[in-house]
């Protein structure tokens, strides 16, 4: 596959990048805004995510229905998501719709924020909060982030609470938008069968008039609180356990070693936690992920077990962490994990939608483009010692722990 990287910058600071793959059957485009719940003040908790919904509600020249209708009329596969630190709007279409897609996405980035839409959509957000309330695993994630990062902006909830969303005012949202959606804080990304010159022209047509202003973010490093919290809820059937330890940030060169560590210790099958917990059926789920963030990072482990085996499961997981810090991985584990990660990246990379976030986030976090083949080389260059080093430096075995389920003590 012959991929070509292209970039351009508008005078107001908006950056445009593309990984052009002439052999692809489709193209995808996204606007990556470097903003999320960590950039919120407590009185507008949940505004990043609520605003993401409102961006689909129309512009001065489009109604909400126009936005939806136009996406569907292009046969687009489209959506948006909000995390603690990014808000991303994206769509994939057949290449002939490139200009139409950019016209729509670009226009959406300057929303009308109409009051009647705001009031209706508030109910949708409240329902979304209720929807996650019925998912113990999500509740564990949200509360664990809050505990581990207590006192740091990464502790902020993405959805906010029923109370904070109910109390939210349109003016507060408008103010947040005006602080965060400056062109210098927005990245336009294209992947797949992109025609780059018209791509840049169209983005310029849509975005060049946006006024530019300074946007800041606090990115203090944070070691985590290493606290232990038991949330008893008898409506929950099983015990859901979350463990979080510090890990390299999205800017850190040891991130490949961290990814290997998470795969070896906690991939869903064939990992140390799999053999220690799932293979003998002590837990039905035990998996670890590495989450690189802006100036911080986390190893995040989820375990789900019968309540009467939860204490045992937690003990075993922590013993596995300790053992991995002491011994490090075997050569066989290194080989298998590298092949697993490389194969998964290759498969994802064959679809424009699969490459979009990878290409976008490489730029958001490090202002760099790394071709997939180079990334795989960097992964294969990681040594056993580097993997051991990364878990020792970040003290994998002293996590913040949070459990949710029927148990009151653990």
């Amino acid at each position: 596959m012959n991929m070509e990287f292209r970039q351009a910058k508008l005078d107001n600071g908006l950056t445009i990048i593309a990984e052009v793959n002439p052999a692809a059957a489709s193209m995808a485009a996204g606007f990556f805004v470097r903003t999320g719940s960590r950039d919120e003040t407590p009185e507008v908790s949940g505004v990043s995510h609520f605003l993401e919904h409102m961006m689909f509600k129309g512009t001065p020249r489009r109604t909400a229905f126009d936005v939806n209708r136009e996406f569907d009329a292009m046969g687009a596969n489209y959506n948006a998501f909000t995390t603690e630190e990014n808000t991303v709007y994206f769509g994939a279409v057949l290449p002939s719709f490139q200009t139409g897609l950019l016209d729509l996405l670009g226009d959406m980035m300057r929303p009308a924020l109409r009051r009647e839409d705001f009031n209706v959509e508030k109910n949708v957000i409240l329902d979304e909060i209720a929807r996650y309330e019925d998912q113990p695993r999500f509740r564990v994630y949200e509360r664990l982030m809050g505990q581990h990062f207590q006192g740091h902006p990464l502790a902020n909830s993405i959805l906010g609470t029923t109370e904070s969303v109910r109390a939210m005012k349109l003016e507060g949202m408008q103010d947040y938008f005006d602080r965060r959606y400056s062109p210098g804080n927005v990245l336009a990304v294209g992947v797949g069968q992109v025609d780059f010159t018209p791509f840049v022209d169209k983005v310029a047509e849509m975005c060049a008039s946006w006024p530019s202003y300074e946007v800041t973010r606090a990115t203090a490093p944070f070691a985590g609180t290493k606290t232990r919290t038991i949330v008893a809820d008898r409506k929950v059937n099983r015990e859901h356990i979350g463990l979080m330890s510090p890990a390299p940030s999205g800017q850190d060169e040891t991130r490949f070693a961290a990814q290997l560590a998470a795969t070896i210790v906690g991939d869903e099958a064939g990992s140390r936690l799999f053999y220690a917990l799932v293979d003998p059926a002590i837990a039905d789920e035990a998996s670890m992920a590495y989450d690189p963030m802006d100036g911080a990072g986390a190893f995040l482990t989820f375990i789900s077990a019968d309540a009467d085996r939860a204490a045992q499961a937690l003990q075993i997981a922590q013993a596995e962490f300790r053992k991995f810090m002491d011994e490090g991985p075997s050569d066989q584990e290194m080989r298998a994990a590298k092949n697993k990660i490389a194969s998964s990246a290759t498969l994802k990379g064959e679809l424009p939608m699969g490459r979009l976030t990878a290409v976008g986030f490489d730029w958001v976090y490090r202002k760099e483009y790394i071709p997939l083949a180079r990334q795989i080389e960097m992964l294969f260059d990681v040594t056993r010692d580097q993997v051991m080093e990364v878990v020792r430096t970040h003290d994998l075995a002293s996590p913040t722990v949070l459990t949710l389920g029927p148990l009151e003590n653990l």
């Binding site: 279409v93 209706v120 019925d134 498969l347």
Partner: protein
């Protein structure tokens, strides 16, 4: 672009399918075996689910650990899935590793160890899967709906019941495997960066000796429509309803898919517009087509706050019924574009393609090209969709409500 399809049946009845794709390094494989959960004896419900775990616990010369190591070292991304009619094994990797992966799957399918010592954890994990459903009310709601909707036992929950799982023995599950792991009735499909002739030679070597067993479809007893309320102190009320449609092999299939897309294809679809956009009743509302070989349904789900559950149900039901009254030309156009665009995008993915090949063969005994699908979608007229809707009207619903309180559903049942 014209696809390169390949079809071959081995003398023992195993069907091999292939599609060669340009510009990809990966090759995906789908292996479906006619040992799905509908074949479980009712007192041994859950056998297929336990079997699906168990066959991965060591096979041929390899222990569980060696098996995982071998697949991982080949960069094999695999998944095992229990369905009503089949166990489905899928594996995606670089094309150059396909041959080695196939050799391992020959062990998994033909020579699983099925040791007594590994049986207990597999049964235990299935019991835990069952109990996990209590913490996933949306999923539980859809599984229960499927069970009530399809003729029994075609939609039965694949995990069985706590009683049936506790009663299960290693011997029962071994019998399930012996009876239903059969060359005839199984389909092995590959798509991507493949060498078809080399693959056929290997498949013949590995699977040529695999015997066939007589396969008969499970006896299915129709379910009556009706309402079930599962009381649960959940934050949302989960509402699901299903009604009958045509299976994939029916000539009205494309009309049914167009109806589904107008109702729920994108954010401009009727359900999304009326339930979420105009009224803010639910974050998620959707209708999905699902087909078994001879039975199919349109399944609608909405998760909603309990105080507006009744209104959500009423608006949803109204939209399902209103479709029969007419469809605007621009709605038809959007639905066509959406369905065709999705085809092209899925056509770029090797796992989607290998799974689509196996699906086509199972349902139709032939493979459909992108062109054929696209032409068929182009040809459907509004009158055909409305004609289909009159033959298969949104009536006789099976309804499932999981939540703190029930809702009034009497209007779902005729005048």
């Amino acid at each position: 672009m014209a696809e390169k399809f390949f079809i071959k049946e081995l003398p023992n009845g195993l069907t091999l399918l292939g599609q060669q794709m340009e510009h990809v390094a990966s090759a995906a494989m789908t292996f479906v075996v006619p040992a799905g959960s509908a074949h479980d004896h009712s007192e041994a419900a859950g056998s297929a689910a336990v079997a699906c775990e168990w066959v991965l616990r060591g096979a041929g010369d390899r222990s569980t650990r060696q098996l995982n190591e071998a697949l991982d070292s080949l960069g094999c991304q695999h998944d095992e899935n229990v369905q009503s009619e089949h166990l489905a094994f899928s594996a995606a990797q670089l094309g150059r590793n396909l041959a080695d992966v196939l050799a391992i799957y020959a062990d998994i399918i033909l020579r699983p160890r099925l040791e007594d010592a590994t049986f207990e954890p597999c049964r235990e994990l299935t019991l835990q899967d069952l109990s996990s459903l209590e913490d996933e009310p949306a999923r539980k709601c859809m599984l229960m709906l499927r069970e009530k909707f399809y003729p029994y036992p075609l939609g039965r929950c694949v995990y069985g019941t706590a009683e049936s799982l506790r009663a299960l023995t290693a011997q029962t599950v071994r019998k399930h495997l012996a009876a239903h792991f059969s060359a005839r009735g199984s389909i092995l499909s590959i798509a991507g960066n493949i060498d078809w002739n080399a693959f056929c030679d290997l498949a013949e070597t590995f699977f040529g000796p695999w015997p066939s067993r007589p396969q008969k479809p499970p006896k299915a007893v129709p379910n009556a429509p009706g309402v079930t309320h599962e009381k649960k102190e959940s934050a949302q009320t989960h509402i699901a309803l299903a009604y009958r449609t045509v299976p994939i092999s029916d000539r009205r299939y494309y009309a049914a898919r167009m109806a589904e897309t107008v109702l729920s294809g994108g954010m401009s679809s009727r359900l999304f517009t009326e339930v979420r956009e105009k009224r803010g009743l639910a974050y998620h509302v959707s209708t999905r087509y699902h087909s078994l070989k001879k039975h199919a349904g349109l399944f609608t789900y909405a998760g909603t706050r309990p105080d507006v559950a009744q209104q959500t149900f009423d608006v949803t039901l109204h939209e399902l019924r209103r479709l029969v009254e007419g469809i605007e030309p621009d709605e038809m156009d959007r639905a066509r574009t959406q369905l065709k665009s999705a085809l092209v995008m899925q056509g770029e993915s090797t796992p989607s393609r290998s799974s689509a090949l196996a699906g086509d063969w199972y349902h139709l005994r032939r493979l459909r090209s992108l062109q054929e699908l696209s032409d068929a979608i182009d040809k459907v007229t509004v009158d055909e969709v409305l004609g289909y809707l009159r033959e298969f009207p949104p009536e006789d619903f099976t309804v499932l409500v999981v939540g703190p309180e029930n809702i009034d559903t009497h209007q779902a049942y005729g005048a």
